[in-house]
């Protein structure tokens, strides 16, 4: 990979999921720096306060208190300074309507949180690979959801 640490930002309110995420990252052959926020408000504040050092990739949970992932997505995409950030939707649900919505609103890809840990690792790895390689090109709809 690259020498610079890859900055990831995870927005998830579930502590278990955050733990899983970190453990997954640890087991992945990547060198990333993970920042975690626990709700949408915090996410936005974090983003807005560190504009000079924005994360390279955001994993966004949808069901967050105070401000949902969708709201954040919209806000980020509307923010000229932020809208270049690739966002991976990281959610429990697999509602096709929601998936479609995320796609339309500019999320880069979609991961449904898998039950199996190994699948989780694979999904995260895939997401990292995709975003580092093809950052700026919008994925085709079929490729939007990362299959585990």
């Amino acid at each position: 990979m690259n020498k610079n640490p890859y900055n990831l930002l995870l927005a998830d309110d579930d502590p278990d999921d955050c733990m899983f995420f970190r453990e997954a990252l640890d087991e992945l052959p990547v060198r990333v720096h993970l920042t975690t926020v626990n709700d949408g408000v915090e996410l936005m504040r974090c983003l807005n306060s560190s504009l000079e050092l924005l994360p390279d990739l955001i994993f966004l949970d949808l069901n967050m208190p105070r401000k949902t992932g969708l709201e954040c997505l919209l806000e980020i995409k509307e923010n000229r300074l932020l809208n270049q950030l690739p966002i991976v939707i990281f959610s429990t649900s697999m509602d096709l309507e929601i998936v479609k919505l995320m796609y339309e609103k500019g999320a880069y890809c979609y991961i449904r949180k898998p039950g199996e840990f190994s699948q989780l690792k694979g999904a995260i790895h895939e997401a990292l690979k995709m975003t580092t390689k093809k950052k700026r090109i919008k994925l085709e709809k079929e490729k939007f959801v990362i299959q585990v």
């Binding site: 899983f20 429990t92 649900s93 509602d95 096709l96 039950g115 199996e116 190994s118």
Partner: protein
């Protein structure tokens, strides 16, 4: 005479006793007493009579009272006093004497008629005043032979006249004188009679307005009474010549008069009527009658006669004639027969119509009698009735047949009424006969028709009665409907059993009362009964449903139809009212409504619950996933890190635990899918089924490959479906076919679709009316027992246990739900170990 005078009591007279008499009177008296000439003296204003012996015979022959001595002139009863008196008056006034002549016939006893000419001289006697105090009348007589007047002797020869000196006492003539005297007295008697008759005649003539005339045919001299002149239009005293008189005759009538005179000369009788024109040009009618006197030679010598003014009579007669003429004209112009009869009943006049009708003339009718015109059968009664009328005077009225000149008999109505005079007695009968043949014929026809009609009507009546009875029974016995008849004001006139049953009143309680009795107070306030009647009046019918009141005050729900009943003239004469008690129905319907409302409410509640449930299902599934995922993840973490630390049992249980968690995941996924099928919007899109199947093929390609499965797709339709749902449906079905495939053979799935009419499918669940797209998915898998054909669509229902085939039992439920969403029908056919076929019918427009 002198003696008489001396002896008379004069005190009773106006002269008084003789010694008061004036000398002139006395002297005059002595003169007349001594005179041999007959003399009569009227003395004084009363004209007291004195006369001498010589005058007596004249008195006797005149028929005057014998002893007129001392009587007033008026009372003396002297003959021709009314002629004499004026002469006396004249003499008294003028003092000049007046002569009067008279001719009398006298028998001289020797059968020789003699004419005696008497001349009277009236002269004045002056009295002391120098004026005439009286009138002396002297009489001289003369004939062709001298008259020897003897002393009047009675039958016995006594001297009747005392104190009279005999003037011609000649013996030789004595016998002749006696005879003459006898003749004379006879003559006198006759003359007196004559004079009396004359007098009577004058009176009669005067009373009768007759004018008297005398015409000397030889000399053409005429004498006329004053009346004659009046009749001619001249005043009294005018002198007219015969020529002048003739000029007054109407020129056209001169010949009549001529003829009358000619006839008179031969017959001796004159009678004519002619017109007279007065000087003032007025027209008058006269009737002249007369007698001709003939001389010895048989030629007419003179004529005496009367003349009468008959103008009025003539006018009256003319008037009568004109009226009669009019009557005749009228009578003849009338079509009716008019006839008259005398009081005996004999017909004496027929108008023209009778002759025309019968063809007979008057003589013929009179000869045979009018009864011959009458029909023989009617004659007897006719005579009887006519006679009755004549006798009783009652009006005659009879119908009989008259024979027309053609021989035909025609009915006549004859009427006759009596004409009465002022006293009420009948003068004549006037009758008419009117031809009533046509009326009679007509009347007979009418009678026949009436008879027929009556018969018809009776028959009709019978039928009507029967019909009415039937109808009455029909209406009467109907129990479920109250059938009433109302009059125009709404009074109940008829009642049936149904009415009693429904409304509770008996007929006798309600007939005659108004139908508004049945209405509730609220309806009465609104005037509902009246409104309904009006509506029925206007439109013919009024229908209403509402509450009504029974006799006991209870309410019932009525369906009422009020129909206006019309007569032939299309006027409304009443109303028929049919009431149906719908209380039960209403209650049922109310219940239904209530139930429906409840149902709707329940449905609403249910829907709400469903929605909540769906939401719950969704959310809970979603939320359930979270912990489940954790379990799974942690399990895997432990498995990854700590599995060696577990015993064999530990590892086994751990595996089962992971298994369970995995199943739970599937369950939740399926539940989520199921709930999504209900909660998402139903957006129909026209979709090609083939495309969808191709997509699924792609999704399942690994499994297809792995199982060497083959999906054969027939002709696919393009129909309106909810694409995402339908994809799910096909995915589930095809997935099932793959899952439940037989180990013995490669799975083969046949998918067909066809659009047909519902009737072709012959299924109870399909409507014959609409078209369906029939999609069938048939496999050759393990099939199933048909008895479970419906069960398999139920939620959580599985036919196999978990160890045989995995599954949540939700897949087909989702399929069914989707088919339901498309308003379609799904049916499963299965044969164990042969395969299963799923038939889906989706209605297409």
């Amino acid at each position: 005479m002198g003696k008489l005078i001396r002896n008379k009591d004069w005190t009773k007279t106006s002269l008084g006793s003789p010694h008061t008499w004036p000398q002139s009177l006395k002297t005059t008296l002595s003169i007349i007493l001594n005179s041999g000439y007959p003399m009569l003296l009227w003395w004084g204003p009363d004209l007291i009579c004195f006369y001498n012996d010589s005058y007596q015979p004249i008195l006797l022959s005149n028929g005057s009272h014998q002893q007129i001595l001392g009587l007033t002139g008026k009372n003396a009863g002297i003959a021709y006093w009314n002629h004499i008196e004026p002469s006396i008056e004249k003499v008294l006034v003028s003092g000049e004497p007046i002569f009067a002549d008279r001719q009398i016939n006298q028998f001289d006893g020797l059968s020789k008629e003699e004419n005696i000419y008497q001349r009277f001289c009236y002269c004045a006697v002056t009295d002391e005043s120098g004026k005439p105090g009286g009138v002396l009348m002297t009489c001289t007589e003369a004939t062709e032979t001298p008259v020897i007047r003897k002393n009047p002797e009675g039958k016995n020869g006594e001297n009747l006249n005392s104190g009279i000196k005999q003037i011609f006492p000649v013996q030789a003539d004595r016998d002749r004188l006696i005879a003459a005297e006898m003749e004379a007295s006879e003559k006198r008697a006759a003359r007196e009679d004559l004079e009396e008759n004359d007098q009577k005649l004058n009176i009669v003539v005067a009373a009768s307005d007759l004018a008297v005339w005398e015409l000397n045919l030889k000399t053409r001299e005429a004498k006329y009474s004053d009346r004659y002149l009046e009749i001619l239009g001249y005043p009294k005293g005018t002198v007219l010549t015969h020529q002048q008189i003739l000029q007054h005759l109407h020129p056209d009538d001169l010949p009549i008069r001529e003829k009358a005179f000619e006839d008179a000369f031969s017959s001796g009788i004159l009678h004519y009527q002619s017109r007279l024109i007065w000087n003032d040009k007025s027209l008058h009618w006269i009737e002249g009658k007369g007698k001709v006197f003939f001389g010895d030679d048989g030629s007419p010598t003179h004529m005496i006669g009367t003349l009468r003014d008959i103008t009025d009579e003539k006018n009256y007669q003319k008037g009568l004639e004109e009226r009669e003429q009019k009557f005749r004209l009228l009578a003849d112009s009338m079509p009716q027969h008019i006839w008259t009869s005398d009081t005996e009943g004999n017909l004496n006049y027929y108008n023209n119509s009778v002759f025309e009708y019968s063809g007979l003339n008057l003589e013929e009718i009179q000869k045979n009698g009018w009864m011959h015109i009458v029909h023989p059968d009617d004659r007897e009664e006719n005579i009887r009735r006519w006679t009755e009328s004549i006798v009783t005077g009652k009006n005659f009225l009879f119908e009989h047949r008259f024979r027309k000149h053609t021989g035909e008999y025609r009915w006549q109505l004859s009427r006759a009424i009596p004409q009465r005079d002022e006293n009420g007695s009948i003068r004549m009968w006037v009758g008419t006969s009117t031809d009533i043949q046509d009326q009679k014929y007509f009347a007979r026809e009418l009678e026949n028709q009436v008879l027929n009609r009556t018969r018809e009507l009776e028959q009709l009546n019978e039928d009507l009665k029967k019909s009415e009875e039937r109808y009455h029974l029909m209406v009467d016995e109907v129990q479920d409907y109250a059938i009433l008849y109302l009059n125009r004001e709404g009074m109940v006139e008829n009642w049936n059993a149904g009415a009693e049953k429904i409304k509770g009143y008996r007929a006798d309680e309600i007939v005659g009362r108004n139908f508004s009795t049945f209405y509730t107070d609220d309806d009465l306030k609104d005037g509902l009964p009246g409104k309904l009647l009006n509506l029925a009046l206007k439109t013919g019918r009024a229908v209403q449903e509402g509450w009504r009141v029974r006799k006991d005050g209870s309410f019932f729900w009525a369906n009422v139809v009020i129909t206006a009943v019309h007569n032939q003239a299309k006027e409304v004469i009443g109303f028929s009212k049919v009431t149906h008690d719908l209380t039960e129905k209403k209650e049922a319907s109310d219940r239904l409504i209530k139930n429906a409302a409840e149902l709707a409410q329940k449905n609403a509640d249910l829907n709400k619950m469903n929605k909540e449930l769906e939401a719950f299902a969704y959310i809970s599934s979603h939320d359930l996933q979270e912990p489940l995922r954790k379990i799974q993840t942690f399990a895997t973490r432990i498995a990854a890190k700590e599995l060696e630390n577990l015993s064999e049992y530990g590892r086994d249980y751990f595996a089962r635990m992971q298994n369970a968690a995995a199943r739970m995941q599937t369950l939740i996924d399926d539940l989520l899918a199921y709930s999504r099928t209900t909660s998402t919007e139903r957006k129909y899109e026209s979709s090609d089924l083939k495309e969808i199947i191709d997509e699924i093929k792609t999704d399942l390609q690994e499994e297809l490959q792995q199982k060497h499965a083959n999906i054969e797709v027939g002709e696919m339709c393009t129909i309106d479906i909810i694409p995402f749902q339908f994809r799910q449906l096909l995915y589930n079905l095809i997935g099932n076919s793959l899952k439940f495939s037989s180990a013995d053979r490669a799975p083969h799935i046949q998918i067909e679709s066809k659009i047909s009419h519902g009737s072709k499918f012959k299924s109870e669940r399909l409507s014959d009316e609409i078209r369906y797209c029939h999609i069938s998915i048939a496999d050759n898998g393990i099939g199933f027992e048909q008895q479970y054909g419906e069960k398999i669509f139920e939620l959580f229902q599985r036919l196999h246990n978990r160890s045989s085939y995995e599954g949540t039992g939700i897949g087909l439920a989702i399929v069914k739900k989707i088919v339901d969403n498309h308003h379609g029908v799904i049916m499963a056919r299965g044969e164990v170990d042969k395969g299963a076929t799923f038939d889906i019918y989706l209605p297409v427009s």
